[in-house]
């Protein structure tokens, strides 16, 4: 960067100097010089040396960023229109929220299920495309605890803008606790609105796309909801995960996120209350 700034400064200063020094003073034609071979060779050689230097630096950096992969991925992230499926092994499945332990490198496998996406958490790692049928691997590492923004960086259709995610970096103990919790299944609530909601969840065909481990194990076209209430955001960072926002999302998904694949099931107020109550139990 500072190389660029330096070159820009040289060009700009030279240009302005010339503009002032050689502005028109009279109508005499100036000396008609046509070139200078030595000068040309010098100002070809210097940039050549500079780009050679840059090339060396970029190879060194690239090797450091993508160092050797010597084990299986810690987490598999799959881009789908327009959300991220996140899997730690076979049992801990979540969406749009990746947890990592502070200070430890995590190997991420990046896949895509439909079109090309791109996985990018700017503060933590490089970006890498999620190409269907062509898994890519990157290392991510957070040196401080905190929440780091991530986004899909490859244009992927209507809701490319709201295909964001977050990386939550926490100390090793909380990370392990989180992972253990995510690996457990959910329990069907036994009474109240939530119990009705759990029943309606199946009847209303929500369960045809969304899996809730421990309750149903349908094939997954949509985010796993086993611990949906434990997540910080809804609909790939579209809004905060509050009961009211969840209710709005269920009522009019196409208004909240136009173009998304979640259908508007025209839920009645009672259904909205019940299903929201059920989903809120999925801590």
């Amino acid at each position: 960067m500072w190389v660029c700034a330096f070159i820009l400064a040289v060009v700009t200063i030279a240009t302005f100097y010339i503009l002032v020094r050689y502005r028109r003073r009279d109508d005499r034609e100036p000396d008609q010089t046509t070139g200078n071979k030595t000068l040309e060779i010098v100002w070809t050689a210097i940039p050549l040396a500079l780009v050679a230097l840059l090339f060396g630096l970029s190879v060194m950096t690239a090797r450091a960023v993508d160092h050797k992969i010597q084990r299986a991925a810690d987490v598999v992230v799959t881009g789908r229109q327009w959300w991220w499926d996140v899997r730690y092994g076979a049992n801990a499945i979540t969406a749009n929220e990746i947890h990592v332990p502070v200070g430890r490198e995590i190997l991420v496998e990046v896949d895509a299920a439909d079109v090309i996406h791109d996985f990018w958490a700017p503060r933590l790692s490089r970006k890498v495309d999620a190409v269907p049928g062509h898994p890519n691997f990157i290392w991510i590492r957070a040196d401080q605890p905190g929440v780091f923004a991530g986004a899909c960086a490859e244009y992927c259709g209507a809701q490319h803008a709201w295909m964001r995610f977050r990386v939550v970096a926490q100390d090793e103990a909380s990370y392990e606790a989180w992972l253990a919790h995510q690996s457990t299944g959910a329990a069907t609530p036994s009474n109240g609105d939530a119990a009705v909601g759990a029943k309606r969840f199946g009847e209303l065909t929500c369960a045809n796309c969304h899996a809730i481990r421990g309750i149903n194990t349908q094939k997954q076209y949509a985010p796993d909801l086993t611990h949906v209430a434990s997540r910080q955001m809804l609909a790939a960072e579209r809004m905060e995960n509050t009961p009211q926002n969840l209710r709005d999302w269920l009522r009019e998904p196409k208004v909240v996120k136009p173009g998304c694949y979640m259908p508007n099931l025209k839920l009645s107020d009672q259904d909205l209350t019940d299903v929201t109550a059920f989903l809120e139990t999925l801590q």
Binding site: G35, A62, A158
Partner: protein
């Protein structure tokens, strides 16, 4: 020269021409100046359409969470903005200038293949109309100007916008290729006596090299468009992973066209700058041979750098280093050009006409765009900044601040030749400053947005610190550019009728187009002046001492 015999055939032809109405004359014309003018007017119209699309984009992005356009409308509009500006504005604008000027600059009567020339223009216009017809037909294309598979495939873009896109670009591509062939044939065969290849005006040099680049690059696009159409209409699987195709194949095909295309869009502008800067510095170009040769180097290198658009795909380090190295190399001949232009001004006697102001703005802005380009060739930096607003900033610095400023320099420079009247310098300077300030306002902040993690092609964005403010600055800048374009349009319209008369050679320039009247007669020259060096009119004015 009144003794030149005019054959009976020619007389008959012109008698028939007189009977035609004005409209017929324009539609049936095979005159390179009329066709060039048609190109310029058409591209100006498309430029306004594409500009309005840009303003719609900027309104939508003015603040986070804006609901002015929904995602579907936004995606159609940014796709159309990109496609329009690349295929319907920048390339045909440069072809139009080349069409108008090349025969004049080499002392020829017309292009070598005038009917092919007319065909090229009309097939281009037809392609443009076909592209915009998609709006009427239900849905404009919305997969971006690059239309990555599999998003552009039937499964994910079910409506017919992309079919229109592919067919329209196919037509435009055929027109572009035939113009390139025409220019090559013309430049090889129709140079006036004494105008050897080493005395060609640099604009013609760059057009010449550029035409070869078009012939090398455009067929790759046309072939992949046909493949995409076969995928979409006949259910083939060239670019879908199911069925054995490869989405990455599309990217290779597209960028093996797409990166040379970038140079196709900028080389003629280099040519314009290489004419304008010497004339207004009152000095010959510094290092003619190096400027010309570096163009050839750029053209050759540009055919082997395409994968730097794909560093995030996961091609493997070996490929990334190879393409990174070739992309870095291309900075060298480009840098050489910048140094030569600066050296041309050194020791000169600089006239600050609007044309020269745009040329200087080109130098500075293009340098910024070139340097940010080097950052993409540096593989690990590319991994961070690719697909962000940093790229949007970069490519507008190159295409708007580079090519378009270059074209503006050319418009103010050659308008007197084309119309016979001068553009108002006063309004020209208003136009220049508005456009220059508006441009930097719009695009400079986008570097920071990109570095801070804002992806491209998003219809809205979360309210992260600073993003709202920077986007608002960018939107205001875009409107300043909009106003500057209105000033330009008004200036053209008023000056065309009532500008000061230009005379043959208002800038006291040196190339052959200034040896004929303004506007030139249909046959261009009664007799082209003798050519004994790269600056024939200088030689004419300085028969004794003038070294060239």
């Amino acid at each position: 020269m009144s003794d030149i015999p005019i054959t009976p055939d020619l007389l008959e032809e012109s008698a028939r021409a007189a009977d035609r109405s004005r409209w017929q004359e324009w539609i049936a014309t095979v005159d390179h100046k009329k066709i060039g003018t048609l190109y310029l007017i058409t591209t100006l119209a498309f430029f306004c359409v594409g500009g309005v699309e840009a303003l719609l984009i900027r309104i939508q992005l003015a603040w986070p969470g804006n609901t002015f356009l929904g995602p579907d409308a936004y995606n159609q509009i940014f796709t159309m903005h990109g496609t329009t500006m690349v295929f319907l504005v920048v390339v045909p604008l440069l072809l139009g200038l080349a069409n108008y000027l090349t025969p004049l600059m080499i002392g020829a009567r017309d292009m070598a293949l005038p009917r092919l020339n007319a065909f090229s223009f009309w097939v281009f216009l037809f392609g443009g109309i076909l592209l915009y017809f998609s709006f009427v037909a239900g849905h404009a294309p919305s997969a971006g100007w690059f239309s990555y598979a599999p998003l552009s495939e039937k499964g994910y873009s079910t409506r017919n916008g992309l079919d229109y896109w592919a067919l329209a670009l196919l037509g435009i591509g055929v027109g572009t290729i035939s113009t390139a062939i025409n220019l090559i044939v013309t430049i090889i065969n129709l140079r006036t006596e004494g105008l050897t290849i080493r005395r060609l005006p640099l604009f013609v040099w760059m057009v010449f090299v550029n035409s070869f680049l078009i012939i090398a690059a455009l067929p790759a696009l046309n072939a992949s468009l046909v493949m995409l159409l076969i995928d979409r209409q006949l259910h083939a699987h060239f670019f879908t992973q199911l069925g054995g195709g490869s989405p990455i194949l599309w990217q290779h095909f597209f960028w093996s066209f797409g990166h040379p295309e970038v140079y196709i869009m900028v080389l003629p502008a280099f040519g314009i700058i290489s004419e304008v800067i010497p004339v207004f510095s009152r000095k010959p170009i510094f290092g003619y041979g190096f400027v010309a040769a570096s163009t050839v180097a750029i053209a050759l290198l540009s055919l082997g750098v395409w994968a730097h658009h794909m560093f995030a795909v996961g091609l493997g380090h070996a490929w990334e280093y190879a393409f990174g190295a070739s992309s870095l190399l291309i900075a060298v001949p480009t840098g050489v050009k910048i140094f030569n232009w600066i050296a041309t001004m050194w020791g000169g006697s600089i006239r600050f006409t609007t044309s020269m102001l745009f040329a200087i703005a080109f130098l500075l802005t293009f340098t910024i765009g070139g340097l940010s380009g080097v950052t993409f060739a540096t593989v690990p930096i590319d991994w961070q900044v690719t697909d962000t607003y940093y790229v949007v900033a970069h490519m507008h610095y190159v295409l708007f601040g580079g090519t378009l400023f270059g074209v503006m320099a050319g418009v103010y420079y050659w308008f007197p030749k084309m119309s016979g009247r001068m553009l108002s310098e006063r309004w020209g300077k208003v136009h220049f400053w508005l456009m220059f300030i508006g441009f930097h306002m719009t695009f400079f902040v986008q570097h920071f947005l990109g570095l801070d993690g804002m992806p491209r092609r998003v219809y809205t964005y979360p309210n992260r610190p600073g993003w709202g403010v920077m986007n608002m600055i960018s939107t205001i800048g875009a409107f300043v550019i909009g106003i500057s374009v209105l000033v330009l349009l008004a200036n053209i319209q008023i000056s065309r009728r009532s500008g000061a008369l230009a005379g043959d050679n208002p800038w006291n320039a040196w190339t052959l187009e200034w040896a004929t009247s303004s506007p030139p007669p249909e046959h261009n020259f009664d007799m082209a002046p003798p050519v004994r060096g790269p600056r024939p009119l200088w030689d004419l004015a300085h028969p004794q001492g003038g070294r060239t």
